[in-house]
Symmetry: C2
Amino acid sequence: MSHEFERETLNRYLGEHNLKHTRQREIILEAFLESKGHVSSEDLYQTIRSDNPRIGYTTVYRTMKLLVEAGLAEERNFDDGVTRYEIEHEHHDHLVCTLCGKIVEFESALIEKTQSDIAERHGFNILRHRHELYGHCAACRDD
Amino acid sequence: MSHEFERETLNRYLGEHNLKHTRQREIILEAFLESKGHVSSEDLYQTIRSDNPRIGYTTVYRTMKLLVEAGLAEERNFDDGVTRYEIEHEHHDHLVCTLCGKIVEFESALIEKTQSDIAERHGFNILRHRHELYGHCAACRDD
DNA sequence: TTCGGTGCAAAAGATTTGCATATGT
DNA sequence: ACATATGCAAATCTTTTGCACCGAA
């Protein structure tokens, strides 16, 4: 899947919301799509900076929020006080290595089902959840 | 269970670590134990303030970290940028109402087991995890 | 007396906001 | 032309630190 599809989604969103298609937004979307995911606005700002010194970090922060609004990005927090973004795709949770920072995605229908049961039992209507397992990955355990 | 037990735990900890037993620490521990749990340092500071205007918020922040060290408190974060503390007790996770802020604890052996399996499958050695379900509680859904 | 503790003010770090200017449409 | 976007600086917000003074042991 090329990036064309994503870019089109953004353009449609911009059009539908009276927002302008700017060079900065294009550059930021590009950098985001090319990232491995789980990048912070600061990461993207640093990456973009070298080729585009005139771009402001404020614009990156604002644009990432916009991408979330547009449904292209999803916000994630991994307990280190930095907001990270990943390309929106099917629901999943994360394993995080606290030594090297490696992030692995996982998904469990059984856990999802159990969550629903628990929520129902407590009368809650669940809108979203966070589920993160923190520890040491195989590579780090060998050191 | 009275608070005497907890206070003794703190005193033992203080003694074992060459730390002093101060009036402030006593006041803060008292306020913490009397809270319903899931309180922030700021919450405690405000509560304590009325009776003890001379206490500094810095001391509250520092003391809460100390209580965590001592094993009396546990740190929690619920996505609103504020660190909360609860009285340390058996492991559990949380349901959070995003409308009224209500926090309900839950525990599931099935989920714990599934988590272990997933971690093992990915070669991770899990040290801790976060699992929070966000939504609307029964009371708020009725409004 | 001697360290650790406290309180204030200032610093930090991530993110947001005010505002004058620049730029899509 | 007009409304939105940008970029810089300054403001926020929560938590941490530096430092002179205080107080427990």
